[in-house]
């Protein structure tokens, strides 16, 4: 089943949403609204057998010229049977960027959603254990957001110093 078939069937089933399809080199992409994300992803999983979630990540388009939304979250899907790939992308905005969790569709989404939450502060409803994965628990900011300074807000030096005579 080629991208053209997927395109045709998806647009037929979700004709009210005006899904946006594009291809760049060997990337086949579809942009979906966040409200219908779960429905479309489960349809892709059950009908087109995209049984593996290769990657789930995000980007912040804060200062990007021409960007209409602040955050983009994408899901890279793979059909293990025939090697077909598809990228599903959705856009979110401040305040309260929030998405439904895909943990029920692919268990591998667990840590990837935690990482997106850790770095961008995008929350996933229905995730079994949504907490920070890389940064320490007491970290309050989301460092891959574009409005977070590269050198941080002093978190890296917020520790007590050990004095030689006291250690």
């Amino acid at each position: 089943m080629s991208f053209a078939d997927i395109k045709e069937k998806l647009s037929a089933k979700f004709d009210k949403l005006n899904l946006e399809f594009s291809s760049f080199r060997d990337n086949d992409r579809v942009i979906v609204p966040p409200t219908d994300l779960i429905e479309i992803l489960s349809y892709l999983k059950t009908t087109f057998c995209f049984d593996m979630l290769i990657d789930l990540s995000a980007a912040d388009y804060l200062h990007l010229q021409g960007a209409t939304h602040r955050y983009g979250v994408w899901y890279a899907l793979l059909n293990v049977e025939n090697g077909e790939r598809l990228i599903v992308k959705t856009h979110l905005d401040d305040p309260d960027p929030r998405l439904p969790s895909t943990y029920d569709l692919w268990k591998g989404a667990d840590w990837m959603e935690r990482e997106v939450y850790d770095m961008y502060g995008i929350e996933f409803d229905g995730h079994p254990d949504l907490r920070r994965i890389l940064l320490p628990d007491e970290f309050v900011a989301f460092p891959l957001r574009k409005d977070y300074p590269l050198r941080g807000m002093g978190e890296r030096h917020n520790f007590q110093s050990v004095i030689r005579s006291e250690s």
Partner: protein, 195 residues
């Protein structure tokens, strides 16, 4: 008769000197290797460079059996409490070598997560420059540390008690404001390949 044997069989020295002499030739390093400097540290321990020529070949992976902490590599903020705890678990007398540019100053990693020098959080005795330092440089650091132990060491470690102030650099006050953040050009189209 007894006096004749005596004249060849004892030396007179200071106890401090004797203790330091014993300590400097039996350093037990604690390899706190977090990055590529750790590979050079392993090379220093391997047969070609052979750290045992300087009596420091017994790497121990428990801080309770060590007296020389070699911090080799960048240290991130999540690792700082771990590093401090390991340092505090080591028995006295103990020394610390900051190996490489990242451990000493943060190196090229001037980001929110990487601390800009471990001397802000633990006391450091010897800094080894390099990115990463060659094994010879680490050996030179160990020789320098041996010299430091020989010159300042005391049997009861009173020289450590005198170091009762913060020894690190001044706190960093300059941070980039958000509007100073770097913006990459948005067009990543490659000129070598047409779409």
């Amino acid at each position: 008769m007894a006096l004749e044997f005596l004249k060849d069989n004892f030396v007179v020295t200071k106890l401090d000197y004797l203790a330091s002499w014993c300590r400097k030739y039996s350093l037990f390093p604690m390899p706190f290797a977090t990055a590529c400097c750790g590979i050079e540290l392993m090379a220093t321990g391997a047969s070609k460079h052979d750290i045992s020529r300087f009596g420091a070949e017994a790497f121990r992976f428990s801080p309770r059996q060590c007296d020389l902490m070699i911090v080799a590599g960048r240290v991130v903020m999540k690792m700082v409490p771990v590093m401090q705890r390991i340092w505090q678990q080591m028995p006295e007398p103990k020394w610390c070598i900051s190996m490489g540019a990242c451990a000493s100053s943060g190196g090229v990693f001037d980001t929110y997560a990487v601390v800009q020098g471990i001397d802000r959080f633990i006391p450091v005795d010897i800094y080894v420059p390099g990115c990463p330092p060659r094994p010879e440089q680490l050996l030179q650091g160990i020789i320098d540390l041996q010299e430091k132990i020989a010159n300042t060491g005391t049997i009861f470690g009173t020289e450590f008690g005198k170091r009762n102030v913060y020894e690190g650099p001044r706190p960093l006050s300059k941070f980039l404001s958000p509007d100073q953040s770097v913006q990459a050009p948005a067009n990543f189209r490659s000129s070598t390949r047409t779409i």
